[in-house]
């Protein structure tokens, strides 16, 4: 099979994984090296597909042969899609070529499971090893680890990769049992715990290293431990393939963040796949629901919201018509209006339309003068959204509950069970 065809098949097989970020690693470049590549903290989206998603990494599978039969997955053993397998050197050359064109920040490599977890993981690690050691590639590498691969392979993976991930796929144990009976949720969690411990240990060690004072003129002897997945670990949950509601999805995420210090949980609206299994009546992917989950996730990570307070609706689903912060504010009208000149930071962060940066600026301005309503315009925040919820000099919202959208019709959430 020629390379074009393989690439087509193995990119097709990888496009359902939502992770794409290439940020948060240690800064480095290729000056003085033998190869190319750099990471400078923030990742770069080099292109966008017509689905609005960014392309920052060459995201492919090493092979889409898989011995598992997870029903939601296009690569499951019982699916009739065409199969292909890259040779290690082919992925390496593709990565280098796309990188030289400046089309990508690096590689995101995943694989169907063939023969055994260790056999599969070994191939995946070999690609990363060849890139790093044979070609001195300094760009970003994200590897999907296989749960239950041996400790030694995981250790090597973390040495070459910037980020490691393991997908939990289903937000609940029951969901996983129903759709991926061969996968072991407990094994997935054990692997995440193992990654977290290694990441923690490496950081801890790096902090403890005291730079050794070298003799004048001698090169400084830095005894830093080799890095282990400096950009941390992440995971993905498929949304809408089973009946789990948003409240439980967010609870699962909160647990994962708390237990394993994940950098990100990605939510992937389940979308139709070719040759789908009978158990999954297909529909258009619940994209708006996915979007709301990302917003809710953001509230947990950056706005001090607890996962239990985000979904107010009795059916356990996020409102689709308004964003979760606005929904929270509408459901807690008694906490508003908030006085821009006096409210504490935590409460300002709960005002719909005020972002973290805007809140910082307000707090800063407040120290030297009074805040007026027309300051909001210059803060570039959506004043129409903010004003009903705040009091400022020369502004007080109309008495009574804030009126934004008097119970708009709710779009039906797609549910497949």
């Amino acid at each position: 099979m020629d390379l074009q065809r393989k690439l087509a098949i193995l990119a097709d097989a990888a496009k359902y994984d939502a992770s794409c970020a290439s940020s948060g690693s240690q800064p480095r470049d290729s000056v003085g090296g033998r190869g190319i590549g750099s990471t400078e903290g923030a990742g770069i989206c080099h292109s966008y597909a017509p689905d609005g998603r960014c392309i920052s990494l060459l995201k492919v599978l090493l092979t889409n042969h898989c011995q598992y039969d997870c029903l939601y997955c296009v690569n499951r053993a019982s699916s009739n899609v065409p199969r292909a397998r890259f040779r290690v050197e082919e992925v390496v050359q593709l990565t280098l070529d796309f990188y030289r064109r400046n089309c990508i920040e690096g590689l995101f490599l995943s694989s169907g499971i063939v023969k055994s977890p260790d056999h599969t993981m070994e191939q995946v690690v070999e690609v990363a090893r060849a890139l790093r050691e044979d070609h001195d590639f300094r760009g970003y590498i994200h590897l999907k680890t296989i749960p239950d691969a041996s400790d030694e392979l995981i250790a090597r993976a973390g040495r070459y990769a910037d980020r490691l991930s393991i997908n939990v796929e289903m937000p609940t144990t029951e969901g996983l049992r129903a759709l991926a009976p061969e996968k072991d949720e407990s094994a997935i969690r054990r692997s995440m715990a193992r990654l977290r411990l290694r990441i923690d240990d490496t950081r801890e060690e790096a902090r403890r290293v005291v730079p050794i004072r070298a003799l004048p003129g001698a090169a400084p002897a830095a005894a830093k431990p080799p890095p282990f997945a400096p950009a941390g670990q992440s995971t993905q949950m498929i949304v809408g393939a089973d009946a789990t509601d948003d409240r439980r999805i967010l609870a699962s995420s909160a647990t994962l963040y708390g237990a394993y210090k994940l950098r990100r949980v990605y939510y992937s609206a389940f979308s139709p796949i070719p040759d789908a299994a009978r158990a999954l009546p297909l529909a258009a992917p619940p994209l708006m629901r996915e979007h709301r989950l990302y917003q809710a996730d953001w509230l947990m990570r950056f706005y001090g919201f607890d996962h239990q307070e985000i979904v107010a609706e009795p059916d356990g689903l996020l409102r689709l018509d308004v964003d979760p912060k606005l929904a929270w504010a509408l459901a807690h009208a008694d906490r508003f209006p908030v006085d821009l000149n006096h409210a504490p930071r935590e409460m300002l962060l709960r005002v719909p339309g005020l972002g973290v940066k805007a809140v910082e600026r307000l707090l800063q301005a407040r120290r030297v003068r009074r805040v007026r309503a027309d300051d909001l315009r210059r803060l570039h925040v959506p004043a129409r959204k903010v004003l009903p919820f705040v009091v400022a000099d020369r502004h007080r919202p109309a008495p009574g509950a804030p009126v934004i959208s008097p119970e708009p019709p709710r779009a039906a959430q797609a549910s497949l069970f």
């Binding site: 796309f98 139709p272 009978r278 210059r378």
Partner: protein
């Protein structure tokens, strides 16, 4: 009287600062300054225009240089790269106001400052988009040397500021970026700049480009078409220089039909083509585990109480088989849950230290917990230990009993109330019953009750030393007074 200042290079921050400092020292207010820049490189440029030179007031003697906050210098560095011709005037006005309005530096909502920040933001975005959307094409020159050449059209004067980024990234590659205003070339050693190029110098696509187009075509999921979101991040004006952009329309046109056909296609029946991989040995449902490996695997999957679903793994015991003593604690904590071994957290370390003081090697006992999964409450991003309830402990009891019969210890040491209750099958008042062997178990194994090490960690410092002494003495007693031979 107007003062005219002509800049040799409109983006030279150093020159601008020199002029601005001088004007400020001379007390020239911003509304009296007209800034202009030389149009093309090489055009004669005077420090001050004739009109200005004649009228520039002399600097007031010994004017102290103005101290500005570091962020202002940084802001100037960004804004000066903006294509807006009025940017120098804006920056000088800000400098003037910083000198005369002390409150300005603390007011992030000031209109001039906000405008400058917006301009800096636009420059940053342009720098970022250039890093994203420059596309190199491989070109082999007549000399046989391989180079990577790109054509790009930035919005602002960012080529020089952005070039070092590409040099750091592509250090071992010879490359050039051509733009209408300024070109930059890297020969592997140094950056060289020259004036702008013509669009016709853009290199034609090389042979490998088709692979990139294939990738772009296949990483797109037709069921998720979202053109507006795409255009927001990759505005149309960049498209004519991005090879993949030619695919956008055809992909979008076909998307609806493609995803509809996936939805309508008759689903296939699940059909096994390979045997599943047995990853985890697990005893048949309901059967008692035959060895500790099976016990562990089965307990991992246990969901007899709600704790199991939230923890990482069941933490079974470890240590010597058929030991004299089996020490039983309450339940794994945060560390134990992650590591998968009992007594590795702070409480376990205290137990280790105390046993070491007694010359009692950890390897000569078996250490286990009454409840196998970690119970906690999420507080923010932290997991806070919670004591397992009675119902949970009861649901879990059979795992401990299986473990006891597989490990076959002579005596059992209960650390804390939860362990004591699990081993004796009744509520135990630890303070009242600690320090002696109790003979109540059906299997004849005596149980010695004492504190859990975490209880000692919770004590105030003043009380801890004494309590520790008593605890250590009790452990020694348990070790030394174990009644001989029970029916195993």
């Amino acid at each position: 009287m107007q003062v005219q200042v002509r800049l040799d290079d409109a983006t030279d921050l150093g020159a601008f600062r020199r002029h601005a400092r001088q004007l400020l020292a001379a007390g020239v207010p911003p509304e009296r300054v007209e800034w202009s820049a030389a149009q093309a490189a090489g055009e004669a440029a005077d420090l001050f225009g004739e009109a200005g030179a004649a009228t520039l007031p002399a600097a007031t003697a010994a004017a102290a240089p103005l101290a500005v906050p570091p962020w202002f210098v940084e802001l100037c560095g960004d804004v000066i790269l903006h294509r807006e011709p009025q940017r120098h005037a804006l920056l000088y006005r800000l400098l003037w106001r910083l000198a005369h309005e002390p409150a300005l530096r603390h007011d992030p909502l000031d209109a001039d400052l906000m405008q400058a920040r917006q301009m800096a933001k636009a420059v940053h975005r342009d720098i970022h988009k250039m890093r994203a959307f420059v596309r190199f094409t491989r070109v082999v020159g007549n000399d046989g040397v391989e180079r990577h050449v790109a054509w790009f059209e930035p919005d602002h004067h960012i080529v020089e500021a952005n070039a070092p980024f590409f040099a750091r990234r592509f250090a071992q590659m010879r490359w050039a970026i051509l733009t209408p205003e300024r070109c930059v070339e890297w020969n592997g050693q140094a950056l060289a700049f020259r004036e702008g190029a013509d669009r016709r110098e853009k290199p034609p696509p090389d042979g490998g480009e088709q692979l990139w187009l294939t990738y772009y075509e296949h990483i797109f999921n037709p069921a998720r078409l979202k053109l507006a979101a795409m255009r927001r991040e990759m505005p149309r004006r960049y498209w004519h220089n991005l090879p993949e952009a030619a695919l956008i329309q055809p992909l979008a046109d076909a998307a609806e039909a493609r995803s509809q056909s996936m939805i309508e296609a008759p689903p296939t029946a699940a059909r096994r083509i390979r045997a599943p991989i047995p990853l985890h040995l697990r005893p048949p449902e309901g059967a008692a585990p035959a060895d500790l490996g099976e016990l562990r695997a089965a307990a991992h999957a246990c969901r007899a109480c709600p704790i199991g679903a939230l923890a990482t793994q069941a933490v079974c015991g470890e240590g010597l088989i058929a030991p004299q003593h089996m020490l039983v604690g309450e339940q794994p904590g945060d560390q134990e849950d992650l590591v998968g071994r009992p007594f590795v957290g702070p409480a376990g370390q205290l137990l280790d230290r105390t046993m070491a003081q007694l010359g009692w090697a950890r390897e000569t006992v078996y250490l286990a917990n009454a409840v196998k999964h970690f119970k906690y409450e999420l507080r923010g991003k932290r997991r806070i230990h919670k004591t397992a309830g009675q119902r949970e402990a009861e649901a879990c009891a059979h795992w401990l009993e299986s473990e006891i019969s597989l490990v076959r210890p002579q005596g059992l040491v209960a650390l804390g109330a939860t362990a004591a209750r699990a081993l004796l099958g009744r509520p135990v008042a630890v303070q009242a019953e600690r320090g002696a062997w109790l003979h109540e178990r059906g299997d004849g194994r005596p149980v010695f009750v004492t504190l859990h090490p975490s209880a000692l960690l919770r004590l105030p410092d003043a009380e801890r030393a004494e309590a520790l002494g008593r605890w250590r003495a009790e452990l020694a007693l348990a070790r030394d007074t174990l009644p001989a031979a029970i029916a195993a």
